[in-house]
C-alpha cells in the first residue's frame, strides 16, 4: 500500500528567490523506513515539513505540485487534519515540549485533548505510546527534567499517541549524545517494525546504513537518487553531493571488496566483516 506520493513538488520560502525544493517526485510504501540524506541546505528539513503540511501552511511561500500522505492531499488540508496521518519530530527536543504540562503523561495527552479523544481511549493510547518508547517509568516526571534522549523519545511518543500511519523525523539525534542517539534509533526501529512508515532525515551515515530500507539523496533541493543503502553508498559520485559513506564502505571500496554476489559495497559493520573476513583469513 502506498503511503506517500510526491508528484513534482516545488517550493519556495517567502523572502527567498531560490526554490528550496524542485521537481520532487517519489513514492513510499507502508512500513518502509526511509532515510533522507544530503549536505546542509540540500532541502532535507523542507522536505520533512512538506510531508506534514507545515510547508506550505505554516510557512506560506510559493508551492507547486502535489503531495499525498495516506491519501490526503497536503495542500488542501489543514495541519491538524494532516497530523492524524503524518506526525513530525524535530531536531531540538526542548522546543517540542508544549511547556504547558507538568508530567510526561500529561505532555503526551496534549495532542489527544486537542483532537477531542475520549478519556478512556486517551489513556489507552498514551500507555501504548509510552510503552513503545520505553518511557513508562518516567510517567510522573517533569518533561524538562529529562535527559536529551529521554525528552526526544517523549516527543516521539507524543506524536505516536495520535496514531499516525506515518512519522517524519528531522535529524532527531543531532543534538543528542551517542547514548541518547542510540536510544532514539532503537525506538524508531521498533516503530517501523510495528508497521509505521518512517521518514528520517539524518547526518549519521553509519546509522542510516544500518537502519534504513531505502535512502533518498537530496542535493540543492532536488532528488539525486532514491534506492537501497547498498546502492546509494556504492555510488562513485557521492562526495560531490557533500555526503561521505560510512567508514565500512570506504574501506571496502578502497580495497575493491564487494558484498558477495552483488555489485555493491558493504555498508554496515556486519556486512564489512563478512566481506573482508574472507580476505583477511
Amino acid at each position: 500500500m502506498t503511503k506517500i506520493i510526491a508528484d513534482n513538488l516545488k517550493y519556495k520560502y517567502p523572502l527567498s528567490d531560490k526554490l528550496a525544493l524542485d521537481n520532487i517526485s517519489f513514492k513510499v510504501e507502508k512500513g518502509e523506513f526511509i532515510g533522507i540524506i544530503g549536505a546542509n541546505k540540500a532541502g532535507k528539513s523542507t522536505l520533512c515539513q512538506a510531508l506534514t503540511g507545515l510547508v506550505p501552511h505554516f510557512y506560506k511561500g510559493a508551492y507547486g505540485g502535489k503531495v499525498f500522505v495516506d491519501g490526503l492531499e497536503v495542500k488542501e488540508h489543514s495541519i491538524a487534519e494532516i497530523s492524524l496521518k503524518a506526525g513530525i519530530v524535530f531536531q531540538n527536543p526542548f522546543t517540542q515540549m508544549t511547556g504547558s504540562k507538568m508530567t510526561v503523561y500529561e505532555e503526551i495527552a496534549f495532542g489527544l485533548e486537542n483532537l477531542g479523544i475520549a478519556r478512556e481511549e486517551m489513556q489507552k493510547q498514551i500507555d501504548h505510546a509510552m510503552e513503545l518508547m520505553d518511557i513508562a517509568s518516567l510517567k510522573e516526571r517533569n518533561p524538562f527534567d529529562l535527559s536529551g534522549g529521554q525528552m526526544q523519545r517523549l516527543a516521539i511518543a507524543s506524536i505516536i499517541a495520535m496514531n499516525p500511519e506515518i512519522i517524519v523525523l528531522d535529524e532527531p539525534t543531532s543534538q543528542l549524545d551517542p547514548e541518547g542517539s542510540e536510544e532514539v534509533f532503537l525506538a524508531v526501529q521498533l516503530l517501523s517494525r510495528q508497521g509505521v512508515t518512517v521518514i528520517m532525515a539524518e547526518h549519521k551515515m553509519e546509522k542510516v546504513a544500518k537502519y534504513c530500507d531505502r535512502i533518498l539523496l537530496l542535493y540543492n533541493g532536488e532528488i539525486i537518487d532514491f534506492d537501497t543503502p547498498g546502492k546509494i553508498f556504492s555510488r562513485d559520485d557521492l562526495k560531490q553531493y557533500g555526503v561521505v559513506p560510512p567508514i565500512f564502505t570506504s574501506v571496502c571500496r578502497e580495497l575493491g571488496v564487494k558484498k558477495s554476489g552483488t555489485d555493491e559495497y558493504p555498508v554496515t559493520l556486519e556486512e564489512a566483516r563478512a566481506a573482508l573476513g574472507r580476505k583477511v583469513k
Binding site: 549536505a39 546542509n40 541546505k41 531536531q91 535527559s147 536529551g148 535529524e171 543531532s174 543534538q175 549524545d177 551517542p178 547514548e179 541518547g180 547526518h203 553509519e206 562526495k239 557533500g242 555526503v243 561521505v244 560510512p246 567508514i247 565500512f248 570506504s250 574501506v251 578502497e254 580495497l255 559493520l269 564489512a272 566483516r273 573482508l276 573476513g277 580476505k279 583477511v280
Partner: protein
C-alpha cells in the same frame, strides 16, 4: 601551558562533579571524551575561570585561575560554547566577531583585521554583512568559533564543535584545528564524535564520574576496551571494524585500516 592540581568541584548543594583531578596540558591537541554528566563541560568552565575550584588549583601559564577573573582570562584562553544561540546578539556577522577582540581592548582596526582573518579560516568571509540569525545552525557554530578565534588566544577549547555539521563543515573544522596547531596554539575539545576525535587529536582523556580515568595518545586510549566500556564510550568505527576482523593493534582511521588490510592481502597472496 595548563596545570591542574588536585582539582575537586561541586555545585552548591550538589554532589561532587569533579574529584581530585591532576592533569598537565602541554602543546598536544587534546580531546576530552566521556558520557554526558561525566564533568567535561564543568572542567572546561573551570579552566576558563567561569567557575572557581572548590579544592585544588589551576594554573594557566603562571597565573593561578583563582586570582583572576573570567574577563581577564579572556585574552589568554578561548572557549567556544556548544549552543550558538547562547551568545549571538549582533545583527551583522562582522560585528559579532569583533565583539570579543574589542572587549579585550584591541583597537578597532586590529579587531576588524583579526575578525576578517578568523572569518576567512571558518569559511564565512563572504558573509560579513549577513545577519547571524539568517545563517544555518552549522554556520552559526562556525561563526562562534570565528568570534573566539579572532581573540587570538593561546589556548582554544571547543565544546562539541562537530554537532550539526555535515561533511563539509567537519572538513572546515579539521582545517581550523590544523591551522591553530601550526600557529602553536593549544587546542582542546570536548567531544562525542569519536571518529573525529581519533583522527584529529593527539591526546585523548576519558572522563567518567568526575574522574580522568584514561589519558594518553589516541591509539593507546582506544585500545583500552574494558575501561572504555566501563565509561560507556564507543571506539571509532575503524577500531570497531578492526576488532571485528580480529586484527592486532588499534586502528584509528580509515587510512590506517586500509593500509593494514592491503598488507594482509599481499601476505595472503604470497
Amino acid at each position: 601551558m595548563i596545570r591542574v592540581e588536585n582539582l575537586t568541584f561541586s555545585y552548591p548543594d550538589g554532589p561532587e562533579v569533579l574529584s581530585d583531578i591532576n592533569l598537565d596540558f602541554d602543546m598536544r591537541s587534546t580531546a576530552i571524551i566521556g558520557q554526558n554528566g561525566a564533568g567535561k563541560t564543568t572542567f572546561a568552565k573551570l579552566l576558563k575561570g567561569l567557575l572557581k575550584p572548590f579544592i585544588g588549583d589551576i594554573y594557566i601559564g603562571d597565573t593561578n585561575v583563582r586570582d583572576t577573573s573570567a574577563a581577564m582570562l579572556a585574552g589568554k584562553i578561548g572557549l567556544v560554547f556548544q549552543n550558538p544561540n547562547d551568545q549571538i546578539f549582533k545583527s551583522r556577522v562582522l560585528d559579532e566577531v569583533m565583539f570579543g577582540p574589542l572587549n579585550i581592548k584591541l583597537d578597532k582596526q586590529t579587531a576588524r583585521k583579526k575578525a576578517i582573518e578568523a572569518l576567512k579560516i571558518t569559511g564565512l568571509a563572504d558573509k560579513l554583512e549577513v545577519n547571524p540569525h539568517d545563517l544555518s545552525l552549522s554556520e552559526k557554530k562556525l561563526l562562534c568559533m570565528a568570534s573566539v578565534l579572532a581573540m587570538d588566544t593561546d589556548i582554544f577549547i571547543l565544546d562539541e564543535p562537530t554537532i550539526a555539521q555535515d561533511h563539509t563543515g567537519k572538513e572546515t573544522i579539521r582545517k581550523i584545528i590544523q591551522s591553530l596547531k601550526e600557529r602553536n596554539k593549544l587546542v582542546m575539545t570536548i567531544i562525542h564524535d569519536m571518529d573525529f576525535a581519533a583522527e584529529n587529536f593527539e591526546r585523548i582523556i576519558v572522563f567518567n564520574g568526575g574522574k580522568a580515568i584514561l589519558d594518553g595518545d589516541a591509539s593507546f586510549v582506544f585500545g583500552q576496551k574494558d575501561i572504555l566500556q566501563q565509561a560507556r564510550v564507543e571506539a571509532p568505527a575503524a577500531a570497531r571494524l578492526a576488532e571485528e576482523l580480529g586484527l592486532a593493534g588499534t586502528f584509528l582511521t580509515e587510512e590506517e585500516l586500509i593500509k593494514d588490510l592491503r598488507q594482509c592481502g599481499e601476505r595472503a597472496q604470497l
